[in-house]
Symmetry: C2
């Protein structure tokens, strides 16, 4: 079950970026669970990774390799996270990198490994290596949709997005895929994102723009920057469009950065829409806050409240639970009588209590929808921030109580 | 459904403290939903209250009245929280106090009001006032068990505790009752606690000991000191035993304080055991931490993780989810290879991964029990802290999705 139509835009090839998909039979025989991505020489690569102290072995290796060499291959497996696997996990991830390096003639450090799935089980390295020749043979630029399927775990649908713009008669393409998982507390989900563009962008600038875009997308569906053991997002610029973006042309920069931001937000929101057991897609928007910090404190307190989330599941306009969240979000000197809370355009709270004109029927009409906006107007300043979340359903509990069996 | 045997100790009367119970028909006709407690003249009264900025009208009034006059009556209603009710809520709570004052000849400020139930509905003041004569007529010292029933909302069983000790041949009694509610994120539950003792304790000391006991009991089943709109706990010392406790006799002080702490912890744990949909009673204990702060950060991250809680519900020894929580708890310079994690006495994590001697059967045997200890040994210092929580079941979602209907 997921919220919104199950459609994907056309995922246009990115010149120079090739993808191969194969089956290693890690959890299910025949499932295509290995994705190999090839980065052309001369490309720039940026990455953002989990801040979890227990980061998985592949994440440790990714960060190390990124600092040593220009990446040429990304290797993703599903079904096993290679997390909580101690020293052996690092040895296993390194063996996978070595196997790719041997088959492609690049250095070990030019391979970045990614794993997602169950924590704490040994990585089935031999199975993965046995599938590499097939993945390599499959490498082609038109493989984005297969890759979107290939990186899925408990996702019920593939996730992808594509943006294009024209500069001086040349088309610049950005294409990306993502995967999510449990979304009630998304910092525990494994989120993976892979984005490529044929623009030419120098590495430092690419990293800066990726970090900023992540902050407003993947980090707006998670709490306090906390992340799972395996979260990773990689952005590759192949340069093959011939369009150089160096930050000196404000209009061109704006075109690229806004396309990147839209694409990343779309990938992040697709993860929420497909949250485990999700029946609602909810934006929690805090307006007129005095700071980003307090806006996010209020938004996350609402977005993570099991009582609000079960009310959303029940389509119950239980505004008292939302109000209680605002009150306990830790905002100093909150003026209870000034702030307002809305469900979509319906004012539900004003002057410290239920809005005078509010009727239960109005609230019910909003809650019956699949897409809901909870809007808190703090009347303290000019900052506005949004986070995206889902409801908490009995299906969520079933999925996560049964996941390992 | 609740965890552990449904038994209460004998709730012994506290000399001078009388309780009356009556039915106002707030939610269900005939249910005894009003509890009136009478405090004798000369008694000391201490209170702790929610830190939620949106605290309910009765809480606002309680705090105000406590500073103005010696309390003589406590009035509790269930079925309606009188929270999120703006100015009208304060007027309504004041009318209730006035009605008690008229019937008993005390000042309005000598009455402390308490409400628990649905947020945001107008308090049915007339119904409450109409039941006051019956509550007053029922006042007697042997009414603790009826009061424990009277303050219940979604609780499935009454909660009470009793402690006695002898000093110089005189018995000192402490008796208390509590109520809880949703426990997945207990800061959203309404917790009420009423404790009386026949010891003689001066108000300032009583407040100090109540605050300290609350910190180690009610505040160990909640997050970051956050609380609901209505949480309140009151401690009354009638002095009728003739035993004066002024802090100058270390042995006597220790007897009283440890009895109070045991009683408060018992009342708090009873709330967890009866958490909505609870099938497990879980202690999360962090040992060898460098500070209380980091111990609690780790403990609460585990205790609030929906992924850990659904695994507990499934009796699944999914240690990877616990490990991931430790990693994202924000502890600086955590040594992943030094720390250890146990389920009861079974070591599940050491050296950054699954413990070498661990078998799934051992973990399963622990998880099959109703009472589970998750123990994290950080190897950073000497601080030890525990929090108590429950699992997350499909029943929790049902209860909270259906609560208002």
């Amino acid at each position: 079950m997921a919220v919104g139509p199950d459609t994907l835009p056309e995922l246009k090839p990115v010149d120079g970026f090739r993808i191969g998909v194969a089956s290693a039979g890690i959890k299910k025989p025949g499932r295509r669970d290995i994705v190999l991505m090839e980065i052309p020489e001369g490309a720039s690569v940026a990455g953002v990774f989990t801040k979890n102290a227990f980061c998985a072995a592949p994440v440790t290796l990714c960060k190390k390799h990124l600092g040593m060499s220009a990446p040429r291959y990304l290797l993703v497996n599903t079904g096993n996270a290679n997390a909580g696997t101690g020293e052996q996990g690092l040895i296993d991830a390194t063996r996978c990198c070595d196997a790719v390096a041997e088959r492609t003639g690049v250095a070990r450090e030019a391979v970045l490994p990614f794993s997602t799935g169950v924590i704490g089980e040994p990585l089935p390295v031999d199975k993965i290596i046995a599938a590499l020749d097939a993945a390599k043979a499959d490498l082609n630029e038109a493989n984005w949709l297969n890759a979107a399927y290939g990186i899925m775990t408990t996702d019920t649908r593939p996730k992808g997005a594509c943006e294009q713009f024209i500069h001086n008669g040349r088309a610049v393409t950005l294409t990306g895929i993502s995967k999510g998982a449990g979304m009630i507390m998304p910092n525990m989900a494994t989120m993976l994102g892979y984005v490529a563009t044929d623009a030419a962008v120098e590495t430092q600038l690419l990293q800066q723009w990726l970090s900023a875009a992540t902050e407003q997308s993947f980090n707006r569906i998670t709490v306090d920057g906390d992340t799972s053991t395996n979260d990773s997002c990689v952005l590759v610029a192949t340069g093959r469009s011939g369009v150089q973006i160096d930050g000196k042309d404000p209009e061109l920069t704006e075109k690229f950065v806004s396309a990147l931001n839209r694409l990343m937000l779309s990938l992040a929101q697709a993860i929420v829409r497909d949250g485990e057991g999700a029946t609602k897609f909810v934006e929690v928007r805090v307006e007129e806050a005095a700071s980003v910090r307090e806006a996010l404190d209020v938004a996350y307190t609402i977005a993570h409240s099991p009582l609000v989330k079960t009310a959303l599941y029940a389509s119950d306009p239980n505004w008292g639970r939302i109000l209680a969240c605002v009150g306990r979000a830790g905002v100093e000197k909150l003026d209870l009588y000034a702030l307002e809370i809305y469900l979509n355009d319906v004012c539900i709270v004003e002057k410290g209590g239920r809005a005078a004109a509010y009727t239960e029927e109005q609230g019910q009409a909003v809650m019956n929808g699949e897409e809901i906006l909870i809007r808190v107007v703090l009347k303290r300043g000019e900052v506005r921030e949004s986070v995206w979340t889902t409801d908490l359903s009995t299906d969520y509990v079933h999925i996560n109580a049964d996941y390992r069996s």
